[in-house]
């Protein structure tokens, strides 16, 4: 075995430059060889043969270490097709088994999908690893932060990656785990004007699957830790008519949530003040002073798991895709709900998507009717809604107790355990013009000069 590995390494050495790991390995081998030589000369210099036995023992230990040093792990090569063959060397055998067991119809489709992950922190990095291990086709990673020792209470990043950008560190680890996944990394802040432009154009790029309808990605996962970045993701997805999922962990690290957002069909992130899972204990007993955010690997791991599970169900069309799923770890309570878009949403792109969704209703109804009739004929053999990509079901409006995301009024009653994180904007009043006439200057350059004069 070892000899075989060594030959592979030797071949690579001829072809390309030595990697850092290979250099380290060569130095270690040389050092061990030197120790063996030293021991040998020591042995020969000793006159008393009774001392030879312990030196022989030392030598055999060194030889053992040398063989261990030679067995550096070999990076696996790319796999052309996902095989269902059950052998130890097949990285996808356990995933393809989902098909054999009737959970997923066509697992291999996962290689066609592109998923964008915004925020490679406690949730995003773990979600990226899960999707990588599942063999997702392509991952787009966005973050502007660097790895710090303070991140080590969460999963994924390792201490030796401290100082690297999170995107670089993630690409390093993920490409080792599964070289089949196409990885794209963007080290930028999506809330700035320039970062947002790059974010938008990267989502639009369709090189990976040119025939795909809509944008260049199948799903955007928001794994960011602040309201500003969530609103930026919301803006981009509303403009691109891009389905996305939002995730979050509370600043006290004991609750979290995931939410599916389909522009025009479900509430967008700006339709109502953001929902948070109430901790379920007296807020005043939670120590808040002194720290801006606490975090736990457990809560973040659970939320990443819920997020990727919902992603797999949505992309591979199995099970029920949750529109909102909360997690309260103190009470082990998982509230769910659905939110319809707010017809008075402050986001213009959301209102456009809502209009389109309403206009498309007759076509949706007709398609649903045709499908129901077809299914009635084949009811015994075909599973219900086999090709319902977004798990849309047609129900009478009167039957559903959905929450309108208006943020006010009786329809705003939230399920137990959920609260709004921020208040809604007060009714927008038009101020009388008199308010603004006090400053008569209306030239931008003049105003700038006036402020500069004050600053001088």
């Amino acid at each position: 075995m070892h000899r075989c590995d060594r030959r592979d390494v030797a071949e690579e050495e001829e072809e390309e430059e030595f990697s850092l790991a290979q250099k380290k390995q060569l130095v270690m081998e040389a050092e061990l060889k030197q120790v063996l030589n030293d021991l040998d000369s020591l042995k020969h210099s000793l006159l008393d043969p009774s001392h030879h036995a312990p030196i022989d023992k030392l030598q055999s230990r060194i030889e053992h270490l040398t063989t261990l040093a030679k067995s550096e792990p070999v990076r696996r090569s790319k796999v052309k097709d996902m095989s269902a063959e059950v052998v130890d060397s097949n990285p996808y055998s356990r995933l393809m088994a989902l098909q054999r067991m009737g959970i997923v119809q066509n697992y291999e489709r996962i290689r066609e999908f592109s998923v964008a992950i915004v925020g490679i922190g406690g949730v995003g990095s773990v979600a990226a690893e899960m999707l990588t291990r599942c063999g997702i086709g392509r991952l787009l990673l966005y973050d502007y932060d660097k790895v710090e020792l303070a991140n080590m209470n969460r999963l994924f990043f390792r201490p030796e990656q401290v100082g690297m950008t999170k995107t670089d560190a993630a690409v390093q680890t993920l490409s080792d785990i599964n070289p089949d996944v196409v990885l794209e990394s963007y080290t930028l802040n999506i809330t700035t004007v320039q970062g947002f432009e790059t974010f938008m154009s990267s989502l639009k790029n369709k090189y990976f699957r040119p025939a795909k309808e809509g944008s260049g990605v199948d799903l955007v996962l928001s794994c960011v830790d602040n309201y500003e970045a969530r609103m930026a993701v919301n803006q981009a997805c509303n403009e691109l008519n891009q389905t996305w999922m939002e995730s979050g962990v509370s600043e006290d690290a004991v609750s979290g949530h995931i939410q599916l957002l389909i522009p025009g069909e479900t509430a967008c992130f700006a339709c109502a003040p953001p929902l948070v899972v109430a901790s379920g204990v007296d807020e005043r007993t939670l120590k808040r002073e002194g720290v801006c955010a606490a975090s736990l690997p457990t809560t973040m791991g659970v939320v990443a798991g819920l997020l990727v599970q919902n992603t797999l169900k949505l992309l591979l069309q199995f099970g029920h895709v949750s529109l909102y799923l909360g997690y309260n770890s103190l009470k082990d309570y998982f509230p769910t709900m659905e939110m319809r878009p707010n017809p008075q949403c402050s986001n213009a792109a959301c209102l456009e998507r809502q209009k389109e969704y309403i206009l498309a209703k007759p076509a949706r109804d007709a398609a649903a009717k045709t499908k129901m009739e077809a299914e009635a004929l084949l009811a015994t053999e075909i599973p219900l809604h086999a090709d319902n990509e977004w798990n849309i079901s047609v129900v009478d409006d009167s039957e559903l107790e959905k929450t309108y995301a208006t943020g006010s009024g009786p329809a705003d009653a939230l399920p137990e355990g959920l609260t709004h994180e921020l208040p809604s904007a007060d009714e927008f009043q038009k101020f009388p013009d008199a308010d603004t006439t006090t400053a008569t200057i209306d030239d931008l350059e003049e105003l700038r000069k006036q402020l500069d004069a004050l600053n001088a």
């Binding site: 700035t192 955010a293 400053a439 600053n455």
Partner: protein, 174 residues
């Protein structure tokens, strides 16, 4: 506005409110918004000067008015502590407030996110959300940065995390 000191409250009522809901990607309406931002900032700066409470300098760092830089200072035990001040106007402005940064204090206090962004979650974000789009940069400085400095600088000085520069002016005026 419960829990705010009467001084801040009365100052706030005198800063002109804004009317245009526009962000940096909104073209002509952003220019209109920018004018309103300037008017509010001019009024606030003038007010601070006449009340002998001048405490910041801010100006646009690019022609589009999407990045702002300046200085802010705080007087503690008759010593003046001055810091660089910067922020970007987010693409989703004014739905989201600017994230005010004091890069020199990065890593010195827990009430701060990486990059020196001050923590505004509890005392400021709900107010901003409630008053969108009427609050602007001037309001963010008055209700976000000023109380943050008042709460954090004394602690940072007393704990020795920040030292006074001996050559800095030590009077209360600027």
């Amino acid at each position: 506005m419960e829990g705010w000191d009467p001084n801040t409250k009365s100052t706030l009522t005198q800063i002109p409110l804004l009317a245009t809901k526009a962000g940096p990607r909104d073209g002509a309406t952003w220019t209109q918004r920018l004018k309103e931002e300037y008017k509010a900032l001019i009024a606030y700066t003038q007010m601070n000067k006449s009340n002998d409470n001048d405490w910041f300098r801010i100006s646009a760092a690019n022609p589009e008015g999407t990045r702002w830089t300046g200085k802010c200072w705080y007087v503690h035990n008759l010593l003046k502590y001055e810091f660089d001040l910067q922020f970007d106007i987010p693409v989703t402005y004014p739905s989201t407030a600017p994230e005010i940064e004091l890069p020199q204090l990065d890593g010195k206090t827990q009430k701060m996110y990486r990059g020196g962004k001050i923590c505004l979650t509890v005392h400021f974000k709900p107010l901003w959300a409630k008053n969108c789009p009427r609050f602007g940069i001037a309001h963010a400085l008055c209700l976000g940065l000023a109380p943050w400095l008042a709460a954090e600088i004394p602690i940072l000085v007393d704990s020795g995390m920040i030292k006074h520069k001996d050559d800095a002016t030590s009077s209360t005026d600027s």
